[in-house]
Structures are given as C-alpha cells and as structure tokens.
C-alpha cells in the first residue's frame, strides 16, 4: 500500500500544527507500508516573501521570484521531517528538483511534464517517509520553477500517479465536498463519492476545495483523490471515476461564484471573425473569459455578452473600448454586481428537464436570469449578486440534496 498525502499551508502554519500533522502522518504510516507527504509553505510565508520582492521591484524577474517563493515549502518540508524524526519515524525531505519533478520553463505557472521518482522510490524502499515540497519543480535547464495556483494539490496528484499510489489524500480545512456551501445552506450534505467530471465542474465553479487543475490530472491518470479534513479523522469525499452512473438523482451539487463581472458589447458587425477577434485579443491579454452568450441577429447586427473575474474587469473594459471600431460595435456596458449559480450532476444527461427545473425554481423566487451556459453535466446561470443566497438555497431544496 502506498499513499500520497497533501497538507496545505494552514495545516503547517506553526510548530504546533506541524507536530499535529507529524502525528497524523505517523499514524497513517503504521496502517500503510509506504508514504509520501506533500506540503505547502507555512501559513502566510508566501505573502511575506512577495511583499519583500515588491519592495525591490514592481516587475520582478519571474525566474528569481520562483527561487524565492520555493523556499517556503523547502522550510516546511524539512520541519515536518524533523518533527517526524522526533516521533521516531525515519523521514527525508526533497525539494521539487530533488524529487525529480520536471516542468516546463513557464515560471510562476509551470506545468509538470515528467516525474523522475527514482530517489523517492529508493528512500521509500528503505522504509522512510518521504516529504516533498509542493508547488515547485525544476525546468530542464535546471532552473527552479513554481506551479502557480493549485500547485501543491497538483504536485500531490502527479506524484501519486508517477508512483502508482493507491490513493492521494488531500487534507483541507473542510470535511470533504458538500452538495453546496454549508455557510449558505446549513442542510448541505457531505458527498461520499463524486466523479472526476462532477468535481471538475464543482471545482471550476468556485467550490474551492480542490483546484480544477489537480482534478484534471487525477482524471487523466485515474488517480482517486480522498478529500479530508486535517482537523478530524472523519472519512471525507472520494473523487474518482464512477462508471455507468445510473442514479436516481440528476443533480449532485449546487455551486456558486460571486467573483464575476459581466460585459455587454452591442451592435457588432455580423461577419465571420468578429467574435474571434474580440476573444482572441482578450485571451492574448490574459483575461480569462468564462461564459459567452451571443444574441439572435437583429438587422444583421449582433450583441455579445461575456463574463470574467472582477479583477480582470478593468483590463477587459480597456480592451473592449479599444476594439470597438474594429468590431463595429456601437457601445458596451459592464456590471460587477452579478454572480453565477450552477447545478452539477453526471446524471443530468439522462434526465431531461433538469435545466427547465432550474429556470423554474429561479423564476419562482423572482430571480431574473441574465445569461445561461450549459454542458453535459452542469447548467450555470448569471443572476444578480444579491440574489445568490436565495438561489442556492432554493436549488438545493428543489433537487433534494439535503
């Protein structure tokens, strides 16, 4: 049995918490034969380092920023190894480079392309618990890289896949994946199992427990993820492939995202390449566009609406304004007081009418739907932000998720 565990920054925020993680790892080590543990940087370490960097340069070198940020995990991993040895457990820590995690050269958002796990395997065979720095790797040219958002989860899943682990356990500050946010719906229920595809939708839609990137990787390598709390010993949620899913329930969960802004562009030329020009430019300038809706043609002129994060709104508006003449648009508008509510479920595809039920529920609550986007396993609606709580509660109830 080989298990990969991952503990986040709040789980290793100080010496006392590192000792608690060490005890938990030691207990798991008794039950299992081999263990690899991935850790993030302690608490706010990364933010403090970023502050220091910005005192020196408004546009610091990404290569050097990675050199600095990677020290956060290097400290926490070795502290955990020391805490484990204090419990009498042989342990050894490895940086991303030492662990053989090879990435591309995209500093700050590098992608893993190969793991050469030989050193880890040698230490495991000697009975050692191997601690690996999350969030980091090494480029082929020998530079230190960091993986960007969701990096430590991705490290854990990638290592689990490379080592052919039995399971990858991700420890967070919640018990598992819920049917919706328990802060909004107290009756929200912890899911025992969720499929990769459903988790991917939940993760992308702001459920926040796992980064979509790590779920994608887990799906690719069919590596089950066990999402659990680092504060209790409860079973969490298994994220895994669920074949032939013939469930009576069509909807698994309700997700929402309030970090949404909407932009409307009016009266564009109805010509091929116009929408392409707009969204290609937004993409080149790193504006992450989420939903796109193009309205029916009136007099050979189009309206297009799209959403992005609120942080990207100023940049998106600037781009739209600059492009107005080129795309022949007459005007544009924006609204940052919107939110996205979504229902997710792999059973949806075999249950027609689910989307209609959702719309009906929102209408019954007097909530206006501004945009709609659907996939095989989810339906998302853009609504006014101040209606989000009502919407989530009503949908959770409607689809019997409690």
């Amino acid at each position: 049995m080989l298990i990969v565990q991952k503990y986040g920054g709040s789980s290793v925020a100080n010496a006392e918490r590192i000792q608690r993680v060490a005890r938990r790892v030691a207990d798991s080590h008794q039950e299992n034969q081999q263990m690899v543990v991935v850790v993030s940087a302690m608490g706010d370490t990364t933010d403090e380092l970023i502050d220091l960097i910005h005192q020196l340069s408004p546009q610091p070198s990404e290569r050097e920023t990675d050199v600095i940020l990677s020290t956060g995990e290097q400290v926490s991993m070795a502290l955990l190894a020391i805490a484990l040895e204090a419990l009498g457990r042989p342990a050894v820590s490895f940086t991303g480079a030492q662990a053989g995690i090879l990435t591309d050269n995209a500093h700050g958002k590098a992608r893993i392309f190969e793991i050469n796990a030989q050193r880890i395997q040698e230490e495991l065979q000697q009975g050692k618990i191997v601690i690996v720095a999350g969030f980091q790797g090494m480029s082929q040219e020998g530079h230190i890289t960091t993986l960007g958002r969701g990096g430590s989860d991705t490290t854990a899943v990638a290592l689990a896949a490379a080592l052919k682990a039995d399971v990858c356990e991700i420890y967070t500050d919640v018990d598992g994946v819920y049917t919706t946010d328990p802060r909004i719906v107290p009756e929200a229920r912890k899911l025992e199992v969720i499929s990769f595809d459903e988790m991917l939708e939940m993760a992308s839609l702001g459920a926040g427990v796992l980064h979509p990137r790590s779920v994608e990787l887990a799906k690719k390598y069919q590596m089950p993820i066990h999402v659990r709390s680092s504060f209790n010993r409860n079973e969490g949620t298994m994220v895994k492939e669920v074949e032939n899913m013939e469930r009576s329930i069509a909807v698994t969960g309700v997700a929402y995202d309030v970090n949404v802004a909407k932009i409307g562009v009016y009266d564009l030329y109805d010509q091929p390449g116009i929408a392409y020009k707009l969204f290609k430019t937004l993409s080149e300038k790193k504006v992450n566009v989420d939903m796109i809706v193009q309205s029916a043609t009136r007099n050979r002129l189009n309206d297009i609406a799209f959403t992005c994060s609120q942080a990207d709104l100023p940049k998106a508006l600037e781009i739209v304004e600059t492009l107005l003449p080129e795309v022949g648009a007459t005007s544009f508008s924006s609204d940052d007081s919107v939110a996205k509510v979504s229902i997710v479920g792999a059973g949806m595809v075999s249950n027609p009418g689910v989307a209609a039920s959702m719309f009906e529920t929102l209408v019954d609550e007097g909530i206006n739907i501004e945009m709609i986007s659907t996939s095989e396993i989810k339906v998302s609606c853009i609504i006014k932000a101040d209606a989000i709580k009502t919407a989530v509660q009503a949908l959770h109830k409607k689809f019997n998720l409690a």
Copy 2:
C-alpha cells in the same frame, strides 16, 4: 577582469540595504567585465529558522537542518538579483547546488571539494552578474549541505579560485584589517597589505574580520582577498602573498581574545601517552584546545595547562575529572577570567628579541604572564582578563604600530 564580491548578512538585512548593495555591485560591474557576487542570509534569518527547528526537536537531523538553513541565502541571492534587474543590470542567482559547489557529506560543517563552474561561466559569458548563495553546497549524493562557520567567506574564495578571478572582495562592517582593535586603541592603523600567514594568525587570534578557513583556502590557491567596508568606498586591506618580506617592522598587529578559559592538571604520571590520552579524549568530545604548556618535570610528575573557549570549559572539566585516575593526576583547577594577547608579524622570524620585548612590555605594566605559546610569526601570552586593555595598548605602542 573578473571579480568575486561577498556581502555578509548585515549588508543585506533588509530591502533598503539590498538596494544599496545592488548599486555598489552595479558600479563595480561598470568598471569590470565580469562579476560573481556571494551573499549571506538576511540579518537574523538564520537564528529565526534555528528557533523554529528547536521548537520541534532538541536534536534535529543535520541533513534537514541544512535544508532549512540554506533557504536564507536562497532568498537573499534572488532578492539581490531582482534589485540588480531593477537597476537595469541582467543578473541571475544560483543556489550552492546550482552553482556546482560540491561538498562532502558532513552536514552543518561540510567542506568544498570541487566546484563545477560551467553554469556560472555560461551566464558570465552572456554578460550577466551571477549571484551565488554563500555558506552552502551539495553533496555527491545530491543532498543540500551547509559549510558552517565562515562559510560565506569560504564560498567566495573557493569560487574566486575556481573561476581564476583577479581578486576576491570581502565586504564587512569595518574598513579593513587594523593593527589592533580600534575600540581599544584609537590610534590603531588600517593595514594596506597583510600576508596570508599573518592574516591567518590574526584571524585565528580573534581579529574577527575573516574566518581563518577562508584565509587558508586563499593561501592555498594564492587568491588575493580585498577586505573592505560595505558602508564606504575606501580602499580596504589586501590580504595576499608577500614574498621576501624584509620590513623594518617586525610586528604587523596585536590581536587579543577574551573568550578563553585555562585549565591546569597537576602531578600527572611522567609516562609516554599520558598527555596523548588527555588531549585525544578532549578532541573526541569536540573540545577545541588552543594553547598547551607542559611544565618541567619535578620528581617524575608533570603539570599540564591548556586553554579552550569559555563555552567548552564545563565539558572540558568534566572530561578532566573523569580522566584523573587514568592519567594519575592528583588535582586540577580552572580559571575563566583569563585572556590571550598576541603579536603577529612575518618579520618576526628575522628579528630576534621580539618575544623578549613583548614579555618586557607586559612586565613593565605589572602584568603577570601565565602561559606562553609561539610560532614563527606570532607570540601569544595568557594574562588576566582585566589586564587585556592595558596589554594591547602597551604592545601597540611598543611596536610603533600607530
């Protein structure tokens, strides 16, 4: 022209000081073609990390301790690279491992056995300023190691030797090497030049500017060291080989050390192997013995006196007490209110009577000499600690060092 510069922890203690170092490096880079800069960890970073480690274990793994401590230099080196780039100077930072600094496996006090400087040379050829983490390297097995005390100076000298640099500049908080401590003798004079051998004696005797280890290495590779202040642009002191030194002055400087304790062991058997047994045991238990004096034999019984650091005194006394029966000693004593004063000078060997002049000077001041030790280029005396200031001042005057 290739210069290696080294800046200590106080020179890079915060963002503002790092910017000052960056400006200084940039200025040197204009004058010279190629530059390598070695940095220590920022200010108290190392102490803070050690505190954290000791919260987890009283006897932390030396391997893991090195993993943690090495992050201090990793942060400061990349911050300096970022500060240089903010000044428009292309720079790149390397950890000890990336810089190809290979060491033995003695964690916490590793010794460099080889530098594979290929990566550094490639970056230098591209016109980049190369920043290297001091104090650290990598073992042949790929573990991160630290070099222990004087480590950053040693890194700088070793790199300078490997790269065949023209000079190694060590920046400290003093102007250079003085004839003696200016805090005790205001007339103390900065030396323009000092030989490796003299510097080695001065360094070992507590002058504090350079660690003896880095001076030894510089002597071995005949690498001149320029000791300068990071707070002004004055010329400092050149430490280099001085051939055929026929100077009128016999004495170059007066050094002193107040961190000294003296132990006397009385009436040992006058048999071969007795002193060996005592000092072998002390060495095995890591007590660093400095001076040793064996008195003339009275009735086939010996007295031995030796000195060690005050920190080692309790351990030394414990060892002596345990060994008393084996070495046949009747009693022992200790005194931690002693100090060592030394005169150093390569000209001493061709100037007989220098030692006698020293003893005469001390006697004239009413200072009792408790132990004497000599080498070709120095004479050291153990005296009462409360007389050290008078002794240093009198010797500095006697040998016309002002």
